[in-house]
Symmetry: D4
Subunit: 251 residues, 8 copies
């Protein structure tokens, strides 16, 4: 029940068009209606730049296409994550304007791209194996209307590569730092910048990396202040939070 | 080496006042000098409102007092975390103006408080046992110049308590959500708001909480978008990151 | 040895038809016979609505069909869980009346369905990926003679979806709540209802979900009173326990 | 906002005593009011026999006494769990009629005991070291108005002790089974009875029991159907769930 | 260097046939020679009934056949474990007399079977899924010259099945007890018998069985005295240790 | 119910002294009676040399003394494990003839010592910190009537110490091998002997020993055939199993 | 910027050929330039015998070949690790002189082999399943210009095999010791030699080896002094560190 | 048996002074004698600069003093690690010349200090809380005759502190790098130097550091080549290995 509908109901009640019981029942159902209002608010939020997101893994191409089409009835942009190459082909056939980003394993559809906010989100990654996760973060931030500064392959075993991009690091509004293995990069980056750092552990590694656990624990124990962490390989979550933060900075 | 010093050196070299070797050596030492510049930048950052922080655990009161005094020579405010009651008494005696916040286990010294930024940081916690961690976060955000909106004891087993504070949740710039046991609160909060949520797992619980591991894993796997996580019981880290984010919003 | 057989043996002994040794031996074998009696009791129990269950995973279709046929000689209904599509086809060909429930990965055979008990078992799940586990629980409860109220896709990141079904939640005799990732849903549901909640963690998730461990720990540490937990992905076990509880309520 | 208040508001509105804006705002606040209604329902639930419970660990005796007194203003009974001997003494002095149960580490206050439901809850435990947890479960069930059948020290390494109590096991409405070390007892019990079994792992053991983890995993993997599990050492939770189940059977 | 060779060397030295240096060097090499003596002892041990064993997993059929043939030059029997069906076919073709035991996943070759020792080794298992591990144990014990009493599918959820075989349990010299899931069977068996029980956890289970960890921890924490444990799925190790124990009893 | 009692009951029934109902009931109680017979068998077993054992940890001296005295009414020997020095003093005062073994943390009472079986049990340990566990094993084996050969402080980092005791190792009937840290000693010993090796991990170590987990995993994965393992620090369990094995060899 | 370039720049500046701004900018870029100098140093290091290494896993043959060719423009040797057979074939076709070492899963290219340093690196392994990891270590050490002494299949369950190679062990400058399962070999070897031992746990094993965790923990807790450890299956890392150590001994 | 003794025995045998049996037996005991020879070699090793080390934890001051005195009969220097302040006082009283190093928690006795080898061992640590472990490493290296270059409090969150000591890092023969929390420092250091890096994780941290596990895993997964790792808090082990490596470089 929207505010408009509520006003009409009350006016009808005052005019005697509807009984007290009916008004009472309508408002007793309010928790839903009120939170439905929150849902409407979410829609407004989406209109302001946050596309609803489909998690592709384990869904059939038909399933993905159906959900995507329904969302696109009311939305101007859409992000689908964790899409394998085979799925992507089917989705691209089903939805006009769908673009597959192979490295990021994402499909995007943008009826009209958002104007980019000033102030960049830096996406930093340690090694080339971390690229799919970094690109998922970058693409998420991008489609939410942010400029993305990609600073890739700058792992801590060769500091000069990282320091060579110091200016880009310092000028970013918020930094997403992606690393596998020992996951040390966010600590080093957080020591260099004064903006929020979102650390993303990846499952890159073998043996005692235990599927990303080593990097995850490293990042949670970071000696760098201002580091927060998301789930292993969760590039989307980091890009999304970075987008929320940058929105706060610029909206 | 500052830029001014560098210019003087080069001019002296051109005038023959210093030899090539000396110039060469000075610039070969540059990495330190350049990052010393970064260090200066850090100082500037601190002057803009981020007090340097002392981690009190395992330090003697004398040790804490000595470090504190040195920092206060150049800084207007200071935060000391993880200070037990006994330590606090000694620190309070040693440093004029030191205030002990028992629940937060913190000591603060503020020569002149920062003017608060507009836009609040909400600190939300699930139960009364989570209060020390929540207060550490709140105090950290406060001394960094932020208004703090405390929303305490609103765990998910009684949703109405949380929803009663919905307006405060929705109006916050950034939310720190603290919970032990199953750590479900950040997911619920992130489902209600569109601002960044920083989740803090606490070691509150017993048995299969494994010292906060259950809450930590729960938060890392949150189905709510925009949730990032810090270490178990790390109220300071969450408050600090929230302060960084709010600074971005308002500076 | 049934009670009837025991009485006959004793009468025969008194009449001199059998010797003391034989009686003695029969009763010395009693632990088995007595527990065989318990086995008979189990059969009676099954006749009252609890079908014996075959765990299909790792069994050949022939193996499943053979066991199923033997059980159906004495039983009116049968549940086979964890049946892949390929297995199911073979089982359906081998057993007349076998129905395959693809989402639940179960085969059921009911010669004559049980009359449903009054009082529903609610099966609640957080996301669409949890459906196979939820359906396994629902089907188990159903074949045991219970009405099942399905409340699906009501995860905690959008509370209004859950609250919209509040009446169904409140009217259930017992609730099975299925969730992966952070597994927060049972805590929230247990805060809303006064009936027993059986929580089922699922292996849905990635990274630090560690195959369902995060959800499992979350549920074990639930702040909601009256929550008990079963193994990861164990929809059958939850449905069965719910059936036992509802039987207690209504038999 | 209660239904009565809502009716009055609407009538006032129709009579022109209050404006549309005020009615609208009152109902927009409805989520709280509606869930406040649920809160009232909780109170009703408590009046029907479920005492609100205080978790004593980490609280001062004064704190406990204060909360207890407030609850007892509206309630006829109260349970306080995890109370150490020293705490208990202070609580007993502060609250007239408080009884300390040393083995269960609980304090109870009952202005007038509930009439016991017919149908017993069996509390079964493996060894004498499990007694505190078993007693916490038993006391919880008892104060909720249930007859409790204690079957103690019947661990699986001496089956005859367990089988000697077979009749008590079979006649219980619901069984709480408490065990540390390998936690095998619930599986054996569940193989003997057709009623719900709630398994409680305890931290009894050493070495590879890892604080109760071995027993917890054992119980989660129980081959016995109808076994659900609570947190390590959570006697209260098991007793509470058992009480909920028995209430369903008898109310 | 055998004792005979050592005596000859010393005599040659006394007779002046070899120099002091040579004798010294030979004995300085003694650690090998002496432990080579231990190696000979091992051979003697093998001749007394302990066949050397090939672990088949990860070896090519050619590799297995080559090793097998070399061992069979000096041995009368051979056990090859963890042999997949495809491997087995190739091995059977390459080695005359090779027998493949599909359930046990083992190949055996016996030129002349050992006479069985009096006194049986009982191999007990909980469920049908544990059969491959149980059969590996049984086959190992068998080829080492032991009578094996198979007591299968007697899990603790139906005690009567186990008690029906009580006589077999009691008469065994040593018992190998195999179980997955919660691994409770060894505790129950050890409570019934006075002979050594070797517990074998299996990886049978799902979810929180964590690949057999639950069963392993359960067995290590067994309340039954006299229970020792081997690695998960290590039927061979248990059968071998049982054979060593029975050899002690009867040789 | 003993066999004698059963015969009398049947004769009384045939003579009409007791009714059919009474006989039926007596035999229906048979599972207990029959397993009570097993209990008697346990007693007989104890009379043959296996003293019942009290686990002292967490028990008051009075509690220990009371249990001890009751056991000593029917037994000639008694072992109490995990007894701290303070407890031991009280127990020694309460029970005449009680001897405290400080290193083993055990109390023993022997009215008349058992004659030792021929054939020794070797108790081997790696370092001096492992002595309490080793002595618990040795004392357990000793009081069960076995000669014990102590081979202490022979860790694998100095093989010559171990090899110096090779003869003792080779002549033992069964070996208990105790080690903390990496727990490598059982593998080395099992490579030298053909008798059963029972490995006991200890909690000796720090850091990544994780309370004995490293040693435990090492022993479970031993490449030495014939190694079985008990719980961390479980000297008693190892000594007991060794005693069972040696009894088999010599009784 | 190399030293030569820097000197030229300064001379040009003194001669007025370049302005102060340009010099300043060049040196302000110094962090990179200076660390680029370190990079040059690395190159020099490589020319002295440390080939840059490509980690082949997850890279396409084309990708590997492209990187390899670029490195070989300036380097005389190259090591590519973790190359599967199929990849290797493609790499061999693309790069003249590439040699595939199947057991080590490595490709090497050496334009002109380094002269071997005096003083050998011993690579020791426990079982034949550890060979791929051992060979990776050996090949790494070899291509870095070291003599490698292979001491294979000398696990601790047969000490005589190890002691037979005592002379080779004692004469090595540094030892790489590779073992799976319980990982005991490094402790035994470190007890025999006075040179550094680098331990490499392998994922060889099953069940409670948990993918090499058991061996890893064992090695970290080694009672042998002078043992350091690398990641599970990290033969390359161990060979590389051994090469660094031997370089120190001989350069 | 030394070589001299062996020669004498053989000569006596040739001269008929001793019988063949006696010679044979002496050499059959050779494994011990030969490894006793190795023991002698160890002594020689010790005389060349490696003092035998006493692990003080859990030992009484008397125990420590007694062992220390015996070692000092034949040795010129002694290191005792993990000595608490109270122990140290007693040891200092008992042994003349004993020096207590409080930060390192070590006692040293040096009759005459070794001449330091040229070439330093750098001991690097991340924070002040890591000092005890770093000092243990430094002291161990020092007493083994090495110059130690202490580079403390140079954690990765402030790179300029580390880079300010670049020259010291680059000139070290071998580096011990100590860090708690995320343990990132060794990776950064290994990226800067070409010498071996021994990483020491410390238990410094809280929450998800899990007693040093986070740092340990981080170091094992280091992307820096040439990093090897020791146990958590094992400063001694790292200092010892560093000493072995430097000895190789300079002896």
């Amino acid at each position: 029940m929207t505010t408009t509908q509520a006003i009409k109901l009350l006016d009808d009640f005052r005019r005697g068009k509807v009984g007290r019981e009916k008004v009472l029942r309508a408002f007793q159902a309010a928790p839903l209606a009120d939170l439905g209002f929150a849902q409407v608010d979410t829609h407004r939020g989406l209109r302001k730049g946050f596309p609803e997101v489909i998690y592709g893994e384990g869904k059939t191409p038909e399933h993905i296409a159906a959900i995507a089409k329904r969302i696109l009835q009311t939305e101007d942009r859409l992000l689908i994550t964790r899409v394998a190459t085979a799925q992507a082909e089917a989705v691209r056939k089903a939805i006009r304007g769908a673009v597959y980003h192979e490295m990021a394993r994402c499909v995007t559809i943008e009826k009209r791209p958002l104007r980019k906010r000033h102030g960049a989100i830096a996406v930093v990654c340690a090694g080339t194996s971390d690229l799919p996760v970094a690109e998922e973060a970058a693409l998420t931030a991008d489609i939410m209307g942010n400029k993305v500064s990609r600073i890739y392959d700058v792992g801590v075993s060769g500091l000069h590569r990282l320091l060579a991009r110091l200016e880009d690091l310092l000028s970013a509004h918020v930094l997403v730092v992606v690393a596998g293995m020992e996951g040390a990069l966010p600590s080093v980056v957080a020591g260099l910048v004064r903006r929020p750092v979102i650390a993303v552990p990846t499952s890159v590694g073998y043996g005692a990396s235990f599927g990303g656990l080593a990097a995850l624990l490293g990042m949670l124990n970071s000696c760098g202040t201002g580091v927060t962490v998301v789930n292993i390989d969760n590039g989307f979550g980091a890009g999304y939070a970075a987008g929320q933060i940058n929105a706060l900075a610029t909206d």
